[in-house]
């Protein structure tokens, strides 16, 4: 059962009104423009034991994603496709409002929004991940861990997730005994069959103004927000209205336009980080 949260962070009325009045004038509490991201850091291959990984930081929000790979049986309705599972956890030390236990509705929603965008845009060509079609396929576990919460968990998590997939090197599957046994050879590694790149941009609404990348205080002040997943060529690959406020249709259109513009920042950060590791 989903319940109105009663352990929300409290932002003082004074701070709240200064955030709102600044945004009204096109300014932000931390000196940014309305369509500007905080400082972004992306480090691919952050965890050496994982087949793929990435450290992503936007402002004070820290997320580390990792990919582990195995071989298993495909889903009966998709016998010739590999399997990808996206899971997200908010660790208890990431925020005073997070508690230990299985993923709550927020973590589940975040993981599912990321999962859908990756799946629907065909970021990975899952059909190329069938080892013995109908019998043995690659299983990809993409685990997203939030270690510090300073607002905008979704964009940061997606940044970590996509960088993980783009930089992953998975072990080669070796088929033995007429396809009955499949082993992973960790000495031979190859990249995932990537077809597209995707990022998610969260646009927040404050009265009649829109901001990207809300920080933790701004998040408490937002009327509501729209998360828009975008491909590099500007297609909309998923959307989710989050929070309890409302948008008019005109506002939704404006939010999508702003998200599209802001997505360029994220793509350039990803490409920059990938180029750096290629040069090494």
């Amino acid at each position: 059962m989903s319940m109105t949260p009663s352990n929300q962070r409290i932002v003082s009325k004074l701070k709240r009104s200064s955030i709102v009045s600044l945004i009204k004038k096109g300014l932000r509490v931390d000196g940014r423009k309305l369509d500007e991201y905080r400082e972004i850091t992306v480090i691919p291959n952050y965890i050496s034991k994982a087949e793929g990984s990435a450290y992503a930081k936007i402002g004070g929000t820290l997320v580390i994603a990792g990919l582990k790979v195995g071989v298993g049986t495909p889903y009966p309705d998709m016998p010739n496709s590999g399997v990808i599972t996206v899971n997200a956890e908010f660790v208890p030390f990431a925020s005073p409002t997070f508690e230990p236990g299985p993923p709550d509705e927020n973590a589940i929603e975040l993981a599912r929004v990321i999962d859908r965008s990756i799946r629907e845009l065909h970021v990975i060509d899952l059909e190329k991940l069938a080892v013995v079609p109908g019998e043995k396929v690659y299983i990809l576990w993409l685990d997203i861990y939030v270690f510090d919460h300073d607002g905008n968990l979704l964009d940061t998590s997606m940044l970590a997730a996509i960088t993980t997939l783009l930089s992953a090197r998975i072990p080669k599957a070796v088929v033995k005994e007429n396809g009955r046994i499949v082993e992973l050879d960790k000495e031979v590694r190859e990249p995932l069959p990537i077809m597209n790149k995707v990022v998610t941009v969260s646009v927040g609404k404050v009265n009649d103004k829109f901001i990207v990348d809300p920080n933790i205080d701004e998040e408490q002040v937002l009327d509501c927000r729209l998360a828009v997943s975008l491909s590099e060529d500007g297609k909309i690959a998923g959307m989710q209205k989050m929070g309890s406020g409302t948008f008019t249709t005109e506002e939704v259109i404006e939010a999508v336009k702003l998200a599209k513009k802001a997505s360029k920042t994220l793509f350039s950060k990803i490409n920059e980080a990938l180029k750096k590791i290629e040069e090494q």
């Binding site: 059962m1 989903s2 319940m3 109105t4 009663s6 309705d77 998709m78 016998p79 509705e105 927020n106 589940i108 929603e109 993981a111 599912r112 859908r116 629907e120 845009l121 509501c224 729209l226 491909s231 500007g234 297609k235 909309i236 690959a237 998923g238 959307m239 989710q240 209205k241 989050m242 929070g243 309890s244 406020g245 409302t246 948008f247 008019t248 249709t249 939704v252 259109i253 999508v256 336009k257 599209k260």
Partner: protein, 244 residues
Amino acid sequence: MRYEKIKLVDENGLRIDGRKPDQLRPVKMEVSVLKNADGSAYVEQGNTRVLAAVYGPREVHPKHLTLPDRAILRTRYHMVPYSTDERKSPAPTRREIELSKVIREALESVIFVELYPRTTIDVFIEVIQADAGTRTAGLMAASLALADAGIPMKDLIAAVAIGKVDGTLVLDINQVEDEYGEADMPIAMMPSLGEIVLLQLNGVLSEEEFYEALKLAQKGIAQLYEFEKQALMKKYVEVKVEEV
């Protein structure tokens, strides 16, 4: 899900169930269908059938969950095991947990929660037969049940799922269109105010297609809103004459 390609829109532009792209499935709505609940409703859209019930405003236990300036809202979206082709485990899935959350957030923007501080309003949605569009049907049933319970709201919620099948945008998708189509976009609005309370997109659309989808949704929502008002009025219009 997609092992073979099936044709979803024929050469005459008609859909797999004979509908036009901008045509809703047959709708049936009724309020006050349950005895115990403070408010209840039944909504049917084609083969999708949903029951919703409301309890409250009522006391919250444990007390520390209350809020001093408003009512809290507790929402559960649930599919019963026999509602789907393969039996669905009755335990809540990740999908149901997510949908319960987005439905709660949609309802929070509609109900005047500040009128009932320190209480809870509980909304339960049970999908008894699933044929796509269950969250939108559930949300409409929930809003009718809230109205039936006499809880003040800014407006009713009308909702519909837009799909993209064989490259065509279609209104109110069914299960086949959902499974084999390219996109599914559920959207819920307060029609009189023109405010969107729920919006999700599962699939890929261009910016232009998205604008078209929004327009198509508004067309369906306007029709569904009329059905909702009729269902509510019917509760009071029917006069029962008792035999003496």
